[in-house]
């Protein structure tokens, strides 16, 4: 009231600004929460780096994402792209600049394994069409993206499982070949342990160490269904007693107090609560659209068991993140409204084999791939190779060429035949093939013209296009 008397114009301006801002936000502000999920080493961090760099370069008027630009009237409706302020977010900031600097350094390197959550947001200012649209002003579409350690996502299906059921399922899986070879030391040790043994801290710790060693060995072999995720990737909070549990045979539903099973069940329950409260709630349960990244080629080359393991893990993650029950669909709250699956590292296969890579991913996903609002792609968020034609065993084959990780010279890589469907038994007779991929290409550390990619634009246009139209 004092301000109104002292300076009526300023008071009026303040009121008008408040009204304008509120009305403008209601009319023009849209936030899209995009969950970029996938198993570890699927390329989530590089995907986010490339998506951000290319969107920001679009703001500098470079047509880095042509399919997305077409949704924006050839880019004419795109007014600006800028990083959205972080506000008072409690999730760490996704450090784009540092990651770009590592990719484009004198010794180019892929980002390290993601060890913690991080968040980033970018705002696209988009002009509206038509006279009425021009009166309403341009829209601001803020895209919020969360980077997440892939290992932790496998804890999502665990959240609804009690210790006894988890223990039974995990042991059955570990005891079956070829997993049993990696799990042999743990399984042998477990032969001398019973669920109703008295609880003992040293025994629990030893069991956890052996179980963790088995999980690490399996991860190296290309297996992905590995629980609990923080046993492999403890995150910034490090190792803690709550992580020290493992499956035991014949774990009862209600273990007697003071037994080893009771101690392990207690830790299992606390672990689930902790992950739910600290890492998932308010983060992975609040999103509108989802992209699931899958290293299909790596799974194919790792052998039949690893391939099936990947399929199982992907299906479980997608199911755990879905909120599209009948009620949610009826009231329009179904999540995600758009779900895209992408086979990453498509630059590891020549152009002619990329459709087969996408088809293989569709086959791996099954019926879910063809549902409404779903799409399947083959992409390389950062293209590190060039297509070449080479001679192999007297035969001319299409291959790709790049500098393999850890080497200094360029080599040609023939990914072999890429089947368009799940291969039959004869296919899997060949031994697993291990390849760490190619190192990043020569890049501008500031990515002023974006980053070279394959198919990223079509994927983003599919997932975000309607929100920008």
């Amino acid at each position: 009231m004092r301000l109104v008397r002292a300076n009526p114009l300023a008071a009026l301006q303040r009121l008008l600004d408040l009204g304008l801002r509120t009305a403008d936000d209601a009319l023009n502000e849209t936030t899209i929460r995009l969950a970029v999920t996938g198993l570890s080493r699927a390329g989530k961090t590089v995907f986010i780096v490339s998506a951000l760099a290319n969107l920001l370069a679009m703001g500098r008027r470079h047509d880095t994402l042509p399919a997305l630009a077409r949704r924006l009237g050839g880019g004419e409706r795109l007014v600006a792209v800028h990083r959205a302020p972080s506000g008072s977010a409690t999730v760490p900031h996704f450090d784009l600049e540092t990651k770009l600097a590592a990719l484009a350094g004198s010794t180019p390197a892929w980002p390290d394994r993601t060890t913690d959550l991080s968040r980033t947001a970018v705002t696209l200012t988009v002009a509206r069409d038509g006279p009425l649209g021009r009166i309403a002003g341009p829209r601001r579409v803020t895209l919020e993206i969360l980077d997440y350690p892939g290992e932790w996502l496998l804890d999502l299906p665990m959240l609804s499982q009690r210790y006894a059921a988890w223990s039974r399922e995990t042991l059955a899986l570990l005891a079956s070949p070829p997993r049993s070879a990696a799990g042999a030391p743990f399984l042998a040790w477990l032969g001398g342990v019973r669920a109703d043994d008295p609880a003992d801290e040293a025994v629990a710790r030893r069991g956890h160490e052996l179980y963790r060693a088995a999980l690490l060995s399996l991860r190296e072999q290309g297996f992905r269904w590995l629980q609990p995720g923080r046993a492999l990737n403890p995150g910034p909070r490090g190792d803690a007693p709550v992580l020290h549990f493992f499956p035991v045979p014949d774990a009862p539903e209600h273990p007697a107090p003071g037994t080893l099973a009771a101690l392990l069940a207690e830790r299992h329950a606390r672990y689930r609560e902790d992950m739910q409260e600290t890492e998932f709630r308010g983060k992975l349960d609040r999103f509108d659209r989802q992209i699931v990244l899958v290293d299909v080629l790596g799974a194919l080359h790792a052998g039949e068991a690893a391939f099936d393991d990947t399929a199982r893990a992907i299906a479980a993650i997608a199911k755990a993140l879905r909120r599209d029950g009948l009620l949610a669909r009826l009231v329009g709250w179904a999540q995600p409204s758009h779900l895209a699956f992408a086979a990453t590292k498509a630059d590891h296969v020549p152009a002619s084999a990329r459709p087969a890579l996408a088809a293989l991913l569709a086959a791996l996903i099954g019926a879910e791939a063809t549902a409404e609002g779903r799409s399947v792609h083959a992409i390389a968020a950062l293209c590190a190779t060039e297509d070449v034609v080479v001679r192999r065993g007297g035969e001319t084959v299409e291959a790709v060429s790049g500098i393999p990780v850890g080497e200094r010279e360029r080599r040609s890589f023939d990914p072999g035949t890429i089947p368009a469907a799940r291969p039959d038994a004869a296919w899997w007779r060949a031994p697993p093939f291990r390849f760490d991929g190619f190192r990043p290409p020569a890049l501008d550390p500031l990515a002023r013209e974006g980053l070279p990619h394959l198919g990223l634009d079509r994927l983003l246009a599919e997932v975000l296009g309607d929100a920008l139209a």
Partner: protein
């Protein structure tokens, strides 16, 4: 023997002959890193063929009206040049003294027009510098050193009129990121400039509102408000180190109108509240009660000052 029924369809049975040999299916090719080195010239690091084309801008390129205007301009200039040349030649034909006098008069005229042109070019260049700084500040991936230099140059320009903004110079010189530069500009330069622009706006509002209230003919209201508004735009622009000439003012007014237009829809919604407050505010109530429209004219001038400040600011909208 296979038996054929009445319909000619082959029924089940044993064949005497050997079944035809199955077509040989090539075994799947296994993945491999090939020993063969790629052809010479492709041996170094992969440098992707990546050169995205430029995106189109709305309203880019010359429209029909632009071409007509350009053609008219050329004709006018040619008419003036040939007319002046004819005039000088005619004067020389009469007497050399008159010829030289006409050369002097034409030269002085052209010199003044040239001086105005230089001033316009400087004003447009200053506007261009602010536009470039705005584009750089909107891009966190831009290299920080040139952005820092541009920001410091702009701050030193602004400091001629508002010396207090110089306090952020060391902080900007030490900034390690584009976002940091923007933060120092926002806190140390834009905030005092906006306060000063608001003061200019209030002065213009009081003057403009009073003049509108005093003018006997309502038809002159728009003219007076427009003249005061134009002066206000130039005052605020000068505050931001732009000192605009005719062309730069025209461009600035277009930008100001564009900023106002982007919130036009929201403006309509907020208008009711604003007018309500006009009626409840003592000073404006008096003016508005005396002459309908004067209060609104005053308020619009005040709003114009703030919109011009936003148009002149190197910080992108919404980041300001």
């Amino acid at each position: 023997m296979t038996d054929r029924g009445a319909n000619g369809r082959r029924g089940p049975g044993f064949a005497d002959a050997q079944p035809p040999a199955r077509e040989e299916v090539a075994p799947p090719r296994q993945p491999a890193i090939l020993a063969e080195v790629p052809p010479a010239g492709d041996a170094g690091a992969v440098t992707p063929r990546w050169s995205p084309r430029r995106l189109g801008r709305p309203d880019s390129g010359s429209g029909t009206l632009g071409l007509v205007a350009a053609g008219a301009g050329v004709l006018l200039a040619a008419w003036a040049v040939f007319g002046l040349a004819g005039l000088i030649a005619g004067q020389f034909a009469v007497s050399p003294l008159l010829g030289w006098l006409s050369v002097g008069a034409v030269g002085a005229g052209l010199g003044l027009i040239g001086a105005a042109g230089v001033r316009e070019a400087r004003a447009l260049a200053a506007l261009g510098r602010v536009d470039r700084l705005r584009a750089a500040l909107a891009d966190p991936a831009a290299p920080v050193a040139p952005v820092r230099d541009q920001a410091l140059a702009w701050v030193s320009e602004v400091a001629r009129r508002v010396p207090e903004v110089e306090r952020v110079t060391p902080a900007i010189a030490a900034a390690a990121s584009v976002e940091e530069v923007a933060g120092h500009l926002r806190a140390g330069v834009i905030a005092p400039l906006e306060a000063e622009a608001a003061r200019l706006g209030r002065r213009a509002a009081v003057e403009g509102g009073a003049v509108v209230a005093l003018v006997p003919a309502p038809s002159l209201d728009a003219l007076i408000a427009g003249w005061r508004g134009l002066r206000l735009v130039r005052e605020v622009a000068a505050l931001y180190g732009l000192a605009p000439g005719l062309a730069a003012t025209r461009r600035l007014v277009a930008r100001t109108v564009s900023i106002a237009a982007t919130t036009a829809g929201a403006d309509l919604i907020a208008q009711t509240a604003a007018e309500g407050l006009v009626g409840a505010t003592p000073v404006l109530k008096e003016i508005a009660g005396t002459v309908p429209g004067a209060g609104v004219a005053a308020f619009r001038l005040y709003r114009l000052a703030l919109a011009t400040a936003a148009a002149c600011s190197p910080l992108p909208q919404r980041l300001a």
